[in-house]
Symmetry: C2
């Protein structure tokens, strides 16, 4: 029998018998035909890849990430992560779904077809993240959209992270008894009934005890949020799969995993990796490397990045080195302990060749014209915040910090003159404007930030979680206007303005959230933009992220959308002005 290639005498960890073995791997048509002594089995090949003394492991599988976080297209993303040993991902495209709905997801799936890795998708379950009275989006995903997507694409492999966990817990009784309806519960019920083999992915930050049981009760049985040992133990104990991202790789978590027989109950994931981090530190390989450095055994690390994620999703054709599985391999240097990747193969072919053979994809032309502002909208007029108070207005302010992307609600007395709030001269305050951009009626809302803010200049972005309307921040009307106009003319992106002119910019031509540039170029642009935001005063480690999540109405505690200030505790709109003084 003839194989296409034989990877001879590879060192392989056999996850079934839990032993290391030395074996030949024969590959035919991109799948593994045989593992063992190829000559003895009568298998020949023209191509022999000598793997003596080399650890060969399956390509890694990342089952929770958002390609949009890398700001690039699926193809460029794939090229970058393949070299990091990632050969399969399950991406959750809720960002592009907020911009374009089903057609955005369809375009992502189409854009992934000729990528040099396998890109599967989770169907976003939280688009919009709240509802249309709290944020304007370009698309929404309900049961009808879900059915369309599943019917069209077998690659829509699971229900993506259910984000409104707090709502489900708070209203558990009514929802469980069917006395109250909820879009997410409808989606889950449909999936459980019609697609019982598909995973329902969760998002359960710090949830414990009965609250955790309630999410499991609905069928939500994974969590990729920050873990500690007790929360993780509770998840394992009741059958919730844990997806460990870089921030969860702590000494105590790794010690728990190393000292308990819980293989198969967890995997490594990346969630969000921006282009500059991807280029410098890596992707899933970086998470694995960190886990190894903190004491996890190589066997467990391999299992948690290959077989366990495959089994979680239900992939039957990958994640192990065995006959019938995809011939996606990573060769490691030395004893593998520092997880240095020597070479990556996809479908039995060197990564370089796979990358070379991948075809680029053109997004629909309309995706490059996604910023539409109603003619009746005037930015100039928006700078005026009318107020009938005699002297002062007590206003709600989003207080930012340097540590995370949460804000606190603060109150601040601002002077009122000529029937408008005078915010321009205030110390430690930026105006925030959010303007809807989906060509329907244009909404705009005002807010203020304090704390970790711009001390100078302005920024504008269409990348503004999750609705991706236009976010404008600053203290200078002129700079804010310059930034806004630049983003309009770019039809999407992020820019900063300093002393009247553009200081850095990141054009995001695809729907205002993705760039079509290669990862390296994109990474340089991001580095410049981050530096520019830092120069303007932002102290958070990830300035872009801290600004672009000001608009996320499910993240504590006071955020802003095009429909107004949102108290995320109550999931309600609240007034900017609390009191006239």
């Amino acid at each position: 029998m003839k194989a296409d290639s034989i990877f001879s005498q590879a060192r392989i960890f056999n996850p079934f018998l839990k032993i290391w073995e030395t074996a030949d791997i024969a590959v035919l048509n991109g799948r593994i035909l045989y593992v063992g002594d190829a000559e003895h089995a009568g298998i020949s090949s023209k191509i022999f890849i000598d793997c003596r003394n080399t650890i060969v492991m399956p390509g890694m599988i990342d089952i929770h990430l958002h390609i949009e976080s890398s700001l690039c297209t699926p193809i460029e993303f794939a090229k970058a992560v393949l070299n990091r040993g990632v050969t399969t991902v399950v991406a959750e495209p809720h960002e592009i779904a907020n911009v374009f709905g089903v057609s955005g997801i369809s375009a992502m799936v189409e854009a992934s077809k000729d990528a040099p890795i396998d890109i599967f998708y989770g169907i976003p379950s939280s688009v919009p993240s709240t509802n249309s009275s709290l944020e304007t989006t370009g698309g929404k995903i309900g049961p009808k959209e879900l059915k369309t997507l599943i019917a069209d694409y077998p690659d829509m492999i699971c229900l993506g992270e259910v984000m409104n966990y707090r709502h489900l817990i708070t209203h558990f009784d009514a929802l469980a008894k069917g006395e109250s309806s909820d879009r997410t519960i409808e989606l889950i019920r449909h999936m459980k009934k019609q697609h019982p083999l598909a995973a329902i992915e969760g998002h359960c930050p710090s949830v414990r005890d009965l609250d955790l049981a309630e999410l499991l009760y609905f069928g939500i049985d994974s969590d990729h949020c920050l873990q500690d040992t007790e929360g993780m133990r509770q998840r394992f104990e009741r059958g919730m799969f844990v997806e460990i991202q870089e921030k969860s790789v702590t000494e105590s978590v790794i010690h728990f995993l190393e000292s308990h027989d819980v293989d198969g109950l967890y995997s490594f994931v990346t969630d969000d990796v921006p282009p500059d981090i991807l280029t410098t530190q890596g992707h899933l390989d970086h998470v694995v490397r960190k886990a190894l450095s903190q004491g996890l055994s190589l066997e467990k690390a391999i299992t948690a990045s290959t077989r366990s994620p495959a089994e979680r999703i239900g992939f039957r054709d990958r994640g192990v080195i065995a006959p019938g599985k995809t011939a996606d391999f990573i060769m490691l240097s030395g004893d593998g302990s520092d997880f240095t990747i020597k070479q990556v193969f996809r479908r039995g072919i060197p990564a370089e060749e796979s990358i070379h053979a991948s075809k680029s994809y053109s997004f629909p032309e309309s995706f490059a014209k996604s910023v539409t502002i109603d003619a009746s909208f005037s930015l100039e007029q928006s700078f005026d915040i009318p107020c009938s108070a005699p002297n002062y207005a007590v206003c709600r302010v989003m207080k930012k910090n340097r540590e995370n992307t949460y804000t606190a609600e603060a109150h601040r007395k601002l002077p009122v003159r000529d029937g408008r709030i005078c915010w321009e001269e205030e110390e430690d305050l930026n105006l925030v404007l959010v303007v809807s951009r989906y060509g329907k009626e244009t909404h705009a809302a005002h807010g203020f930030i304090s704390g970790d803010i711009l001390h100078d200049g302005a920024m504008c972005s269409t990348y503004a979680h999750d609705h991706h309307n236009i976010l404008i921040v600053g203290s200078s009307k002129e700079d804010m206007t310059t930034a806004y106009n630049r983003i309009l003319s770019l039809q999407g992106g992020i820019c900063t303005v300093s002393a009247g002119s553009i200081s850095a910019e990141l054009p995001l031509s695809v729907g205002g959230i993705l760039s079509e540039e290669p990862m390296d170029k994109l990474s340089s642009q991001v580095v410049c933009l981050q530096k520019s935001l830092r120069d303007l005063g932002i102290e958070h480690a990830n300035p872009i992220m801290t600004m672009c999540t000001l608009t996320l109405p499910v993240s504590p505690e006071l955020k802003i959308t095009d429909r107004g200030l949102i108290s995320t505790k109550t999931a309600e709109r609240v007034d900017l002005i609390l009191e006239h003084v």
Copy 2:
């Protein structure tokens, strides 16, 4: 919070942490809400089931069986096995598919909807078992039928056992390279592409080494055939899931399972359990009991009958006692070591109540009129086997044995008189007639059996694997005619005739293969029929089975269908008469 019921202080094996724990199980709407200290969690209930000192395990899941082997309808089958602790099955309906095609499978699914257990189905991949030139069937399942079934029924959960393993191995090169086409490979390819989460179930008797790898290569990665330790070890080593039926429960197999860390790689199944065995010995409980008696630990036995089969198929809502899972429980007596079932609960409700609440189903009227013989067919004339030999004809004979259902090909010189073979007076010989009954052109074929045969009387059956045409066996034309006429007037079933009159009969009114009687009554009928066949001379332990598989053209070595004698080695028709003498 209010639950519907609380199973308090149950002894539970936690398969995630691999520990025994004592916990309350709170149930809401038939699903588990909470496992732990219910009072501490603030959960109350009007119904408390005291489980102190009682082992509570999940309902068992049998992922490979044929309901038709029990000869009864899904509802009656379900009632019988629920009391044995089986709460979920994956049935493979290739018998009814041979009779009615898609409409037969649809009826089985419909007939299962109100059953007191959950009945899922595998899509039969081998209907007919060969092709229409070798056997006439009432239905066939190809890619078109598969698509219809999956679109209509989310309960069609996997691709059922791929039976033509020998063909796939023999023609591996051409099939793998796409140079040759095959219906089964087409079905597999469709499933892998369109339904990648669905299992592809295998049938790999005694297959080893490269042959085994070739089946895995196509995606066939389970086997429920007879196991020995070396074959099983090879399957585990390369990721093939092993389904252990009663005949595979041997001391050496159990010793292997007990002494290796291979939990999750195997489950227990029943495959075929006839009604008399089900009633007297049991079902999956019997297999588990046998495994325990041979030294398997209770923990491993529970895992192999609950969690492992659930994970194999990809069920996400059952197989463990954890929040969100179906509240299907078995209470065991004592320490569980003899696997005596104290009580079974389905969806938190006692089995008796579930059985009481189940609604009966009426099969379509046409299913009771499934035996149609062309008016041109004459049984009387069929007894004459024309032959132009001067004195003798050397004929092929199916030599039966008492041990299994295989036959050997023997050759026998039979006298020829008046242009016909004189078989009536031969010692150790029965005539076998197979007559097609699907209302198309009627085909009939002659054969002979020797060895373990009827010494007197005759038998007739429409239950004749897998095509279920009419099988008539005997040495007396009169008795054979009586049997045949009785089966025609019953419109299906099995009967024996002795000394001119019906001696035992088993009416099978649904398509000639299923009875609508309750299991107890059916079991009595089967016992009578088995006794009658024994009285007529059959020595095999299961006389019905040994007769009704004479017609199975994929079982070694010489079998008979309505299209003629089939050499199952070459999968070709062969002549009855070898030589004129």
